[in-house]
Amino acid sequence: DVKVTQSSRYLVKRTGEKVFLECVQDMDHENMFWYRQDPGLGLRLIYFSYDVKMKEKGDIPEGYSVSREKKERFSLILESASTNQTSMYLCASNVPGKEAFFGQGTRLTVV
């Protein structure tokens, strides 16, 4: 079975902190994605990566950066967390043209 694992289920951080969300997949997928999910807005793409060290901005990249140093790992970084970044963050991976598999999600609260 494909497994996508996010490092934390729940996270509480203070405004201004640097926050790292980690995602690891074990199926050698080329593509990896970070989404945030907010009520009424569905899933919005923050960044995606189609290869090691390659990244593309999604629809809402402001305030975020990403890192993909190894194929299996895709990190989302909040450079200076703000309260409007309180959300559910979902990581996904896939082979191009195939369905994506999702991690369990990280519910981040910024206080």
Binding site: N31, F33, Y35, G40, L41, G42, L43, R44, L45, F48, Y50, M54, E56, G58, D59, L90, A92, N94, P96, G97, K98, E99, A100, F101, F102, G103, Q104, G105
Partner: protein, 113 residues
């Protein structure tokens, strides 16, 4: 920019009834996916539709794709309470050779006894 719109966003129905969720998208794509999300859980893949006219069925759910109309439907037959969940459609967009997966807003389905 690729836009994916689902209709309706909220749906409350009684057990035993039939209904359809619609997914419209704004640019050419021949791959569409349906996902289910239960409260507090992550997304689970339901259907992968890879060509015009594709139809997939699993139990009381049936999905179809019309790439010319840029429309996919998810039909629920004789609904049961266990199908209560949020359903998302998602479409592939190729951006400079990279695949970008864009989601609709989701349809929250509540099935009442």
């Amino acid at each position: 920019e690729l836009k994916v719109e689902q209709n309706p966003l909220f749906l409350s129905m009684q057990e035993g009834k039939n209904y359809t969720i619609y997914c419209n998208y704004s640019t050419t794509s021949d791959r569409l996916y349906w996902y289910r999300q239960d409260p507090g859980k992550s997304l689970e893949s339901l259907f992968v539709l890879l060509s015009n006219g594709a139809v997939k069925q699993e139990g009381r759910l049936m999905a179809s794709l019309d790439t010319k109309a840029r429309l996919s439907t998810l039909h629920i037959t004789a609904a049961v309470h266990d199908l209560s969940a949020t359903y998302f459609c998602a479409v592939d967009a190729q951006i400079q050779g990279a695949q970008k997966l864009v989601f609709g807003q989701g349809t929250r389905l509540t099935i009442n006894p």
